[in-house]
């Protein structure tokens, strides 16, 4: 899968993410999940006003135009916040794992939640830089799985 290269960071204690509950894929979200399988992060951009938004609705959240197109985000993001889950909510769930909410300085209006790889879960920090990535998730989808780019302070 493209986009999962770890750029030198250690996979360390990372556990798999295939146990869980898959998404229902809809007309509005099909393009996102298809691109995810290719390791690409797609968000909607309004053809009318240029605003970007997430998740995809087929409607621009800024001007409410229905003329939206997809744009790929390739730049690094920053961790808005995070949590490390220790609870085995499902019988076959591997724990612990870190999950992050990621924002992109060059893409205002876009925040994407995903797992975090490339560092010890407890080493994740608010503000740390991450690269876009994906990993195999539940069912037959690839889920956002960001890659830590720096040793946290």
């Amino acid at each position: 899968m493209a986009g999962t290269d770890d750029e030198g960071a250690s996979e360390g204690t990372h556990v798999g993410a295939t146990a869980g509950i898959p998404p229902v894929i809809t007309e509005e979200t099909a393009a996102f999940w298809a691109a995810a399988k290719e390791g690409r992060l797609l968000v909607e951009r309004c053809a009318s006003c240029g605003a970007e938004s997430f998740p995809p609705y087929g409607v621009c959240r800024a001007c409410r135009s229905r003329e939206v197109e997809h744009v790929e985000i390739t730049e690094h993001g920053a961790v808005y916040s995070l949590t490390v889950n220790y609870q085995r909510w499902l019988p076959d769930l591997d724990v612990p794992y870190a999950m992050v909410l990621v924002e992109f300085p060059d893409h205002p209006g876009v925040r994407v939640a995903g797992r975090l790889r490339g560092c010890d879960p407890e080493a994740a920090r608010i503000g740390m830089a991450v690269a876009v990535g994906f990993e195999p998730g539940p069912g037959d989808v690839a889920i956002p799985s960001f890659l830590a780019l720096e040793e946290p302070a």
Partner: protein
């Protein structure tokens, strides 16, 4: 105040509860009937007087293919709409009595019963532990489609990043947060119906296991079995009622993105609701004698304290530190029944509302707040929010 405050045409006339416990070996239906009959009797009414019914969740899950389509929250988010009233969504009631109050205020009914029945205690026990949110469905729909597949399998994981960000931004510590469950446990010790009544110490709190950082076991409410019913009546019927309580003001606003990962700043989730509520009354935060603040998680009490103006933004940690201000006899006795953290997860503001009514009537027993005349009730710290002031008749 130019707006018509039509909630003053409604009163809360009755509250009733079934047996409540971690496991009550009776059907949810039986518990529901117990609560409804108790609430109607508590109001001084008979079942034949009731002409309105509502339950939570309204509609519930569709049980036929194609029966339900779309999700209110997604429509609201996509079209960027601020709502001051909603109905028809699983958690689409800002407060349990919100819709019923509108119904009696506009003459559509005189006495409405609304109830909430949970069997989450037995369900968790039967499954060997609390299971993933949404695991009753084979795949995640709507806003959950972005959360469950990545492993955000519980509201604990969903609220946790916002708690982490808030604590990071304001320097609030777990040593401070722990005083909320510790103080509420002390209140629960005075409530015979509370689920957990044995003392909890700050050391117990700090030693408890992490669920999803920074949320530990004692930051989470307690699943239980039980039912709560509330009767809402038209104010013109007060002569027929045993002990009505006034609805001074109420509001429920969503002014951010209604999703667990997109809401800009969960610490602010109650601000617009609180502002709208205070705009409907001349009472001020300093007039409030006790507060029943939604506490699915400890952090939500902090956010409600700040949103309601009981302290400033970022000051919630200092406000609860040591427990004196939020304890019985303190500046703002909070969750005097033990809250959902120790009283148990009666959910959706039903337990909080029942306690507010009992305090205002002077029927709260050993945990009675002296001369309680004004009690605040807030509901839900997810992206729903509701707030009200109830006052003595």
């Amino acid at each position: 105040m130019s707006a018509q405050i039509c909630e003053r045409r409604a009163v809360i006339s009755g509250v009733g509860q079934s047996a409540i416990g971690r496991q009550v070996d009776r059907s949810g239906f039986a518990l529901t009937i117990d609560a409804i009959t108790a609430a109607v009797s508590d109001a001084g009414l008979a079942l034949d007087d009731i002409d309105g019914l509502a339950m939570f969740p309204g509609g519930g899950k569709a049980n036929l293919p194609g029966y339900a389509n779309g999700n209110l929250y997604e429509v609201q988010d996509a079209l960027r709409i601020t709502t001051t009233w909603r109905q028809g969504q699983v958690e689409g009631m800002s407060l349990p009595f919100y819709g019923p109050a509108m119904a009696v205020a506009t003459g559509q009914a005189r006495h409405v019963v609304i109830w909430r029945t949970v069997k989450e205690g037995s369900a968790a026990r039967g499954a060997g532990g609390r299971v993933a949110y949404g695991s009753t469905q084979p795949a995640a729909e709507g806003p959950l489609a972005w959360l469950l597949p990545i492993g955000m399998l519980s509201p604990v994981c969903q609220v946790a990043p916002y708690a982490a960000r808030y604590m990071h931004d304001y320097g609030v510590s777990r040593d401070q947060l722990g005083w909320i469950p510790v103080t509420q446990r002390a209140h629960a010790a005075l409530n015979p119906d509370a689920v957990y009544r044995t003392p909890l110490t700050i050391e117990d709190y700090l030693a408890s296991r992490m669920i999803s950082t920074p949320i530990c076991l004692f930051d989470c409410d307690v699943p239980l079995d039980g039912s709560t019913a509330i009767v809402v009546s038209a104010a013109e019927t007060v002569a027929d009622l045993r002990a009505p309580v006034r609805i001074e003001a109420m509001a429920g606003v969503i002014d951010g993105r209604p999703s667990w990962e997109q809401w800009e700043d969960f610490g602010r989730v109650g601000y617009a609701t609180a502002a709208a509520m205070w705009n409907r009354t001349t009472l001020r935060p300093s007039d409030v004698d006790a507060a029943q603040l939604y506490d699915g998680f400890t952090i939500e009490v902090i956010w409600w304290l700040e949103a309601m103006g009981f302290c400033g933004t970022g000051e919630g940690g200092a406000f609860v530190d040591g427990g004196a201000r939020i304890g019985l006899g303190g500046q703002l006795p909070t969750n005097t029944w033990g809250g959902q953290l120790s009283g148990g997860r009666l959910h959706a503001g039903f337990g909080h509302t029942a306690e507010a009514v009992r305090q205002l009537r002077g029927e709260a027993g050993d945990r009675q707040v002296h001369d309680a005349e004004v009690v605040a009730v807030t509901n839900v710290g997810g992206y729903e929010a509701g707030a009200a002031l109830l006052t003595r008749w």
